[in-house]
Symmetry: C2
Subunit: 391 residues, 2 copies
């Protein structure tokens, strides 16, 4: 038992140290080994071992001899290698899925979308169609295919990342699907799946407009409603990777009946279906775009529906601010299209509704990565896993 | 600017390293320096510097020469020194405040309560009475008074810990009170104040029955309703130390009017005042104990009020589980007295109300530290601050 504890401590420490070294190289490149040792307080031996491992993985390289900061003689400096590894990524949703190839620097070198209707296809038909698209993108993109380190798929719903299983996706209507295993046997790449909202949050934190923010929440208002908190550059997952499921917080104990069989869940007031249901009590419309369009023409019924939607979106954000106290709230999803218009509408409502104590503590922004966030987030996750710095 | 970044990295790394070393000594004592270096991957120089600092502070001591694990020759081992430092602590509330002296090992060597009515005293009268009680306890307790490292006060409400200011405490009816400064000038000890719920959560995590739990939420149902999340042994504070303010999440957009001027805040359904208001529509009672008593005799009106209370407490816990996905939820406060009876009532309601996906992911427990949690939590905070490992 004592041995186990020691092993665990060492393992944790090793990952933290490796993550710190890689982040320092990314930030201060080019940088010398002695500088890394000086900053971290680690022994030159430990720094050397990690650097050797990262060079072995091809992620960093030695540049020419140069004077390093604070050191009197020339030393070999370390820099990152952008084309060292690539991740094939997909973000799937009930109607349109997106696939792409992302390099080590977070550049999407090729991407594509495919229309897959989860409600009218079996899960394996759906997945095969997405796999075809991934194969196509890999084939068409110009890069060294042997450098693909794996496949990452962002999925709406609850995901058991460790076992590659989609536990439950009300959006896709999937339950207990062995997604990673199926994709691996189909395409031959090691496959990692995760909740797409957590992936998007990580991408916004890593590549978005507020990289220095310390407490970032991404809130997705789409088919469902979900959120993810990033604190000190790490996803806050909770014990079963289910933190942030604000869609199923109770907002009205005697409210509308939800898919989940309970009453008054927040998402019964916000999702596409809720809007359509309400609209159809007075208009025979075919999709929510008709509501947006009618509202922009000033038609009273549509303006009223959207105003109500924005009120509930603002309540969701106010509740998130109370619970997570973030400095940045990033909103995305098809219910909050048309930035910057929607940004100012929501900001104004939240500023009016929020508990006075929180005023001035937060910013609200529309996603700057938009449709690309899911792919970029899965790429970050796979690179961390590849380097074994996932914590 | 580059220099600033380097400084910041070094500062962070130094605190993390020091915290790791101290925790390892606490866990594996007696333990040698070389063992610490081996486990952490730190250089013997860095380990030696930290150990020297901790010995200098008197918190750890060298024991006799002994064989250390995995080392072929005898070495000096390191152990903690329980009587090295003491913290004078207080947890204040609107009616009864508690003060005590806590040693380095988290033992309360002396404590006392005092009745101070915040609603009928000015804030400085109130504070002076608490200060008198602290002075009395310090005088009466048998310990080396020169070893008091500071005074810690847990306060209900929003606290600016950095500046020692109570920003807003609806419970005490205080706004922008320079509490730390006042107490310091009165008693002469360096004073740290913090939100008492965060302190209690930290104490439950450090000394409670589930020290190994990784995601612990403490929820307080008292004069107000609040919660605090501990993740990997650290308080999740948010950007303005206000995370966990679930009392002001909206639970019913058209609901009851709250103190804060908004409608349908969770705490309008849970607090003492809400219960009294409801009860008094049909019975002229003097306090909530009469409701608890009548309910235990089976009087319908009281049973119904408590049933409704427990429903809202359960909704609060369900919403917390959705947002934080903890493995342990610890409940405390005067609205949930009488464990284990209340524990099983709440457990049953939450199990019935929770979204199916979370079933089996959490445990719900009554506080095992009870009334002592606030004192112990403030002691942990002050020791961390003293050693400069607060992150």
């Amino acid at each position: 038992m004592a041995y186990e504890i020691v092993k665990h401590d060492q393992e944790m420490m090793r990952k933290v140290n490796k993550g710190n070294i890689l982040n320092l190289i990314r930030e201060k490149k080019p940088v010398s080994r002695s500088e890394l040792a000086r900053i971290t307080g680690m022994s030159p031996t430990s720094v050397g071992r990690i650097v050797t491992e990262l060079i072995g993985l091809g992620l960093i390289k030695e540049t020419e001899l140069a004077f390093s900061r604070g050191v009197g003689k020339k030393a070999l400096l370390l820099d990152t290698e952008p084309n060292s590894v690539y991740v094939a990524c997909a973000q799937i949703d009930e109607d349109v899925s997106r696939v792409g190839i992302v390099d080590f620097d977070g550049t999407i070198i090729r991407e594509s979308t495919c229309i897959c209707d989860a409600h009218n296809m079996s899960w394996d038909e759906f997945t095969d169609k997405v796999c075809d698209e991934i194969e196509k993108v890999i084939a068409e993109a110009d890069f060294d295919k042997s450098r693909i380190i794996g496949l990452g798929i962002g999925v709406p719903g609850l995901v058991d990342t460790a076992h590659g299983i989609v536990l439950s996706s009300p959006q896709l209507r999937w339950e207990n699907i062995q997604l990673a295993k199926h994709v691996e046997s189909r395409l031959g790449y090691k496959t990692t799946i995760d909740n797409v909202i957590k992936a998007k949050a990580l991408a916004e934190n890593t590549y978005g407009s507020d990289r220095d923010a310390k407490r970032v929440v991404f809130v997705h208002f789409g088919t469902g409603v979900g959120s993810a908190l990033i604190t000190d550059n790490r996803i806050y997952r909770g014990v079963t990777n289910s933190a942030g499921e604000i869609g199923h917080t109770t907002i009205n104990p005697n409210g509308r009946l939800c898919d989940c069989g309970r009453r008054g869940c927040l998402q019964t007031y916000i999702t596409e279906r809720a809007l359509l249901q309400e609209a159809r009590t007075i208009r025979n419309i075919s999709g929510i775009d008709e509501i947006f369009e009618a509202a922009s023409k000033g038609e009273g019924w549509a303006v009223s529906i959207l105003d109500n939607l924005h009120t509930y979106i603002s309540i969701a954000i106010c509740n998130i601010i109370c619970m997570y106290n973030p400095n940045i709230v990033i909103i995305g999803g098809k219910m909050v299209k048309k930035p910057p218009e929607i940004e100012s509408i929501i900001k104004e409502k939240v500023d009016r509704q929020i508990w006075a104590q929180f005023q001035g503590s937060y910013e609200i922004k529309c996603s700057s990565l938009g449709e690309h966030a899911g792919l970029l987030g899965m790429a970050v996750l796979l690179v961390n896993k590849y380097i074994d710095i996932e914590l």
